[in-house]
Amino acid sequence: MTKPALRNDVRIIDTTLRDGSHAMAHRFTETQVRDTVRALDAAGIEWIEVSHGDGVGGSSFNYGFSGTDEMTLIAAAREEARTAKIAVLLVPGIGTVDDLKRAHDAGAEMVRVATHCTEADVSPQHFAAARELGMETVGFLMMAHRTDPADLAKQARIMVDAGCECPYVTDSAGALLMHEAKARFEALLDEVGDEALVGYHGHQNLSMGVANSVIAYETGVRSIDGSLCALGAGSGNSPTEVLAAVFDRLGIDAGVDAGLLLDAAEDVVRPYLQRWPKMDRNAVVQGWAGVYSSFLLHAERAGERYKVPAHDILRRCGELGYVGGQEDMIIDVAITLAAERDEA
């Protein structure tokens, strides 16, 4: 496995059009995608992730149906990008190699294969297919707070041995405090740092995304995710425009124009935001209780439908240890809480 070459000190992968899909209830339009890609491309972003929030094949009752077919959006993104390249997410168990091939045909050149942090051995099939297609590969170890650094490193090893060029500490719940994030970065770098890049994907639920990104860089992590206006699940991702400004202040060359990213956030993304991800009670509870960030809108909907507080649903999901993909359990929990309320 050759380690991907870095063009700059660090690469920022923008996931506005993928993680942001959660906050947009998977209703991105082709125009929004084209406008966002043009702005990110002009600002020097190298990789832009586009797909349903739950990855290719995610359009469903369980996660929400895509407003526009994600393959149409990927193809549109590919058309608009002059220097940037397009990445997609794939969650084994939801998406398949067939979905990956369609995304590749539509113009995707990188796949990010995502598993729960202890289940990396469901990913080799998809890494093998991606390498055969000649795609760059990233591995997402989701809910990275749910296992210890040594085990997370073992899981990263499984992915790298299967063809992953860059395993990620993926803080899906926005739960990792700075020392916890750092210990995981160090463990992964120790285990696979000679053969692969290591990445970090943050959420803002406890406001740690940018701070953890700085620690990541200082520790040796060289692939870092962001979203314009933080557009992403829960209270959103580390904002790309903030990462750019902070790295600029630190004298770290991320190869991007911070001013143009601020313009992109303010002039392109903000006008179409249906909700600006924020650290409200529900989102903070997600970071606090370690709940998958994508559960947020589903919990709000179930809360409304069954007349129970969304933050109670989320807290219960944390207690029960539900993982990414188990959005159906949110309804189950809401029904249970409603029954408990009626009995009381």
Partner: protein
């Protein structure tokens, strides 16, 4: 007077095969005579302890026995079953296939168990398929289902290396069977592994798209009837709540939705109760074998 029984064998004495052994020994129509493996193992030892002839001589040994089994339950791998299936057929032995080989028609006993009684080879689909297809069928026998989707959540401990190495196989096979056996126009399947400790009991959710004016009371009654039918072979198959109906939305193309939430607790025969996903496979296989055996005995009578 003893009721006649049909002689049967298990090939593949792993955890699935051993759980199946316990279930087959309870059967009043199946006579478990042989267990075959390819290496000496704990599974073969358990079979001998249970009074069943067991050998590491594989299919060669099995086919040299007299009398031959009438039905073989195969719990090996897709590759092994593909190699063994023609040999069983040549020897006039029928196969109930628990592997992902899918050579014969897909059978879910509560739904189409009676449809393939004379097939030489039947496929038990997947664990998620066995758990959810009865609910899809319960809805589709009442009202047209243009689309159904199932989500199977299983404990990490109950997902073996075969499932993990080819998780797409689960998604494709189950999604296809939701349509073909469940009766939806289109099907989709999702599987999630959860490592929480203590291990979570298998959970399944079935979403079916239905017409805005579908008869909801009839759907609910049909779901309850079907649960009883599955409980005949999986006692721990239960609804977590009444079927949930959601009103039509534009996102669903103007359709309404019914959601069924299931828990599948295993019988704890050999496998732990949380592994309902594995239990429902062995229970469905045993049930299917019994249906085939009864048909044979009936034809002889």
């Amino acid at each position: 007077m003893d009721t006649p029984k049909v002689p049967v064998a298990i090939v593949g004495p792993g955890h699935i095969g051993t759980d199946l052994l316990v279930k087959l020994q309870r059967s009043d129509v199946l006579d478990l005579r042989y267990v075959a493996g390819i290496v000496e193992s704990e599974g073969l030892a358990r079979a001998r302890e249970a009074g069943v002839e067991a050998s590491a001589g594989g299919v060669d040994w099995l086919l040299a026995q007299d009398p031959l089994p009438r039905i073989v339950f195969e719990a090996t791998s897709a590759k092994a079953h593909a190699a063994n299936a023609p040999r069983y057929e040549a020897a006039g032995i029928r196969a109930v296939d628990l592997t992902p080989a899918h050579l014969g028609p897909m059978v879910c006993p509560a739904v189409n168990g009676e449809d393939h009684l004379d097939a030489v080879n039947v496929s038990m689909i997947t664990c998620g398929g066995q758990a959810t297809i009865p609910m899809v069928a319960a809805v589709s026998r009442v009202t047209p289902v243009p689309y159904a989707e199932i989500v199977a959540s299983i404990s990490s401990r109950s997902a073996g290396p075969g499932t993990r190495a080819n998780i797409d196989e689960f998604t494709h096979t189950t999604g296809g069977a939701v349509a073909e056996v469940g009766g939806a126009d289109r099907g989709k399947a999702i599987i999630v592994l959860n490592p929480v400790e203590p291990p979570m009991i298998m959970r399944d959710t079935v979403y079916a798209m239905i017409g805005a004016d579908a008869d909801r009371a009839a759907i609910t009654a049909s779901v309850h009837d079907m649960v009883l039918k599955v409980q005949e072979y999986v006692p721990g198959y239960t609804l977590r709540a009444e079927p949930q109906f959601d009103e039509p939305t534009d996102e669903w193309g103007g359709h309404a939705r019914v959601a069924v939430f299931l828990e599948v607790k295993g019988n704890g025969d050999h496998l732990p109760p949380y592994a309902g996903n594995l239990d429902i496979m062995t229970a469905a296989a045993a049930r299917t074998g019994e249906l085939m055996a009864r048909a044979e005995l009936g034809a002889l009578a």
